[in-house]
Subunit: 149 residues, 10 copies
């Protein structure tokens, strides 16, 4: 029996096909009708896709059923430490290291004892033109969950 293609192997096939065909992540998101960051994260292996979504993106990229099968798997989420050290990703970690305790204090002040959910959660990214140089604007939007016994 042929083993199911792993999530990360499927993601690698998507990435190769996407680059060869010159398609952007935005085009893939538009094709699927799903949000941009969600789509990119899912195709990088961080979310399961429905069978239909997996099938649809593989049709577009001319990839086989084995890739679609892999995209539909439930992932083990997370990113290895050496990838997190990439400078583009590290800036987020650094910002958290500087502003994390302040965000905790302000969540407690405004909402009470609890957290911003990372599950009932969405992320968006946008370009904001600025004469001093355009800016990356990232919005984290998560449900407040209070400690509730």
């Amino acid at each position: 029996m042929i083993p199911i293609m792993s999530k990360s192997e499927a993601a690698a096939h998507v990435e190769s096909a996407r680059i060869r065909q010159g398609r952007t992540w935005a085009e893939l998101a538009e094709h699927l009708g799903t949000p941009l960051v969600w789509t990119t994260a899912a195709l990088l292996g961080q979310h399961p896709m429905s069978t239909e979504q997996a099938r649809s993106v593989c049709d577009l990229l001319e990839l086989g059923d084995d890739v679609a099968e892999g995209l539909a798997l439930q992932p083990g989420r997370g990113t290895p430490a050496e990838v997190m050290a990439d400078p583009t990703i590290y800036r987020f970690t650094e910002a958290l290291s500087v502003y994390g305790p302040a965000l905790k204090a302000l969540i407690h002040e405004e909402f009470g004892d609890g957290i911003m959910s990372a599950i009932n959660f969405q992320v968006d990214i946008a370009r904001r033109p600025d004469p001093d140089g355009d800016r990356v604007v990232i919005t984290l939007d998560g449900k407040f969950l209070d400690y509730r016994w």
Copy 2:
């Protein structure tokens, strides 16, 4: 000679006085006329304050010159790993672990090879009412910097 009060000792004095007087971080930010997250981070020891800002917040909280002196110091920025493990802060780390590679890919697609600055950078936090439970909305806004030799 009496050593200068360290940044973290000054921050502890601010925190004690703030709680005893029942003042919010928002009131301190309003008093200073500075952004909410910046003010909270600065008073937790992550940014230097100008002498006037430090003096003003100490007057409000009835703290001495030694505390103001500490608040004006240049900080060593960052947060220890055990504090980052607090559940309210950890959710940000987890979100980065899930969405970090996607954000990297989308920054490169939209802006080219580079990063979102964590220095020319601002953070805002807001409450967004929602019938399913109010939401925490955090906006990261940083200048795009391209790799430029």
Copy 3:
């Protein structure tokens, strides 16, 4: 100005007074009318208490207002790695290391893609008599949260 007593200092005072007076955690929980595990965790510094709760437990244990003030603080939650290595605590970590992936698979099978909340969450502990030796029964009860964009 006298700095506010830290959460962990207040917890140490509670522990000393509790032992000296020969009171059990169960008695403190009954006195407060709060669940057993929650009460113990809160008095060990992992949850904020309301001012009334903090006042009430300090009255019982003949502790001052400074301790009550500390108990009411918002905590930085979590336990250092060296404490987690204690044999009584380590058994939980080991059980997770053996059964964690199975629990993940069964949550996904029964509920779909998501998690058991550790915030909307409660824990109970009980003794179950058994002729082969009594058993510790611990119940973890958390709301299912699905990944929802």
Copy 4:
């Protein structure tokens, strides 16, 4: 001579066949007549199966003798740190970090100096309907072992 298939290779074959055939973990447990969490953990490689159990599950999933041979092996138990960082699994680790010292204190209070065994131990998982959202209920049930010289 053909080397014996490793425990983890056998587990991967079970997982692929299970998904292809659309069978749930619950069906496999029912087929074997063994508890749900035990069965899932064993098929993920954390417990040895008897030769009969291994043969039976391989018949159901149309897998060969080499897979059954692997399932019957004595495992090296445990889960790598990067898998434990998956959000669904991490919530258990976080709960332990918050409630571990309280559970230790209550075991000592109720049972005396000792531990809850992670060997003479069973785990169950159930869904508890709740109008605010259904709940995951996990029961850890282990024999108390007192420090006995």
Copy 5:
């Protein structure tokens, strides 16, 4: 209120008094009528003593009630990594690193799937004369616990 003396502070007082009075660990064990390794470990802070045992050893060493109170506390067990690196202790770690997998294999072969308990467990140390140089003989004696659901 005076906080209870911690386990490690009490152990430090015992050690100082023991050295000043020139008493051996063997004498303390004999005085208490308890096993040698257990007594040494307990007085180094790894086991709780009964109130009578704690009182008795403090009488012998002319130490106060506060020390006895500390010796009777329930400990957080374990030894920091830097202490484990001491050459005399490290040899045990090295021996485990070389023979640990063999001992695991032989326990499974002789007893079945399970462990040697470290709780229902005792240790003894003895000198065995040998013309090539006397030998340290350490006996680990723990109950076999089989994985039992």
Copy 6:
């Protein structure tokens, strides 16, 4: 030229053949006339075997000269941390963490400043019947080496 089979590859071949033929470690030790724990450790790759020993065990298990060649190699000794975390092995580590400092103190008291050798060293394992459940008895027997300049 065909590279020499590595120590760990040779060990894997021994393990596969041993299980397929249904032989115990005890039988292999008896066949070789070598101690039980030494034989098991050596065949798991922690000791070099003489050419005759390697040849003899390969004859018994119907393995080729390439495996014998690997068994005769000088090993790099030690066990990876993830294997040491297996519950059956971890109990030894935990016992050391609890009793290591006591053993160090007693070695110094009985023998003077020095160590128990882990090189001039042997280990034995035995079953001791006990009405409360049979016990694993492990004996560590090493030459005392005093710090000698």
Copy 7:
């Protein structure tokens, strides 16, 4: 579909061809008309090359389109810890460990609160003849970025 060659595989092909043909990094930089350190870093996989640059260097080294495709990829930047431990690289790390806090203090004194960019940044290396032995001179040249909200 053939997967795209990874950045590190492409770098390995460049390295092999470069050595076989006896070409220096300086020759490759001259061929491309790009700075020496940038070129070397890019060909070791730390920067994306334009399609033209990648094509040009592959023509020179007689490498195929698949290598050029890999060289043009956006990299995940950074170097594993074990490579950073090489003595030639470690000296830079050691120098930073000795002089890092001084450089931070002097940047703040001369420029104010901010950093030297590692993105708008260039590095040069040169040989400076010296009668006591020639010297390696490395120049780090980065734009000052002030903390700006």
Copy 8:
């Protein structure tokens, strides 16, 4: 006897006095007639000062003989990891992680097998005006040492 003030305590006294008196590192370097980066590093505790240098800087800053005594001590060099994580210092670490292997390759190409000494070594920092924003220019200048047996 009064213990000698440690290197880091002496550095803290220098820092306090320097800030209170409003003196720059550049002024201290000029007063001593020593290079800027060397002086700053030495006064932060990374180099021993001669008795005359230590005395001279303490006279200027009105500090006592105990501080001078500490400044003259031989240091244990290096900076803790949490300080190295400060954003201003981290940029150097990141640059090394990106360019370290390229610098190693170019040192070997230009000089042969060896290193740039971090002992026979000097560092300079300068401001270079630039219409796009002034630049920090850091020069590392170390003797080449070839591997020589």
Copy 9:
């Protein structure tokens, strides 16, 4: 009762007195009639001294009985990682990282399967004049111990 001065406190007193009196380690070794490296290591807290040795060195340095008591204690041997990172010490670690496997291979070739003892072991250091710059010559001299069951 006054606790016994710890080994490291006693070492700090010796160091302070030694510097104040301008005495070298070599003078202390000569005074005691003990080898240079052994004496230095012992006075830095890595070996116990006899009561006579401890008394003698404290007489010379005009230190009290409490210091002598500390010097006579059995040490916990070893050096923290941050001290090992000092450049003067790190060079030894680096040399081991480069030559360690070669030394292992040569010990096995010349002596058979075993180790160089670090207990029956001595170290010497000497200056060897050389026209190209004097050399540090360190001799490690340890008894060979063969793996002997």
Copy 10:
């Protein structure tokens, strides 16, 4: 194009051929006319060989040009932590942990502020007969380098 054989692959081929032919490291060193420890380290992958040396040793061992090509490569030096944990290598690390600070103190006393070079450095190993058991004598001989700005 065939990629160049890596340094470690070449080393593995040398090791296999050396064992098959029954040659010692000493014979290889004699054949090359190079020092024993240098030769062993180089053939284990820690030093580049000249093309002639690489060719010569491959002729002796009947290995091809691809192996010689690998032996001539510039290495990334160092040894992974798991190899350093081998008991024969670990004894050196332990000795450094005990004597490292003493050697640092004595280098500073005898030579001034500086280090023993690990680059202008040689190592020798010898057997010294001794009635109590032969001894391993290792000599580290490195040029003193003073901190020189």
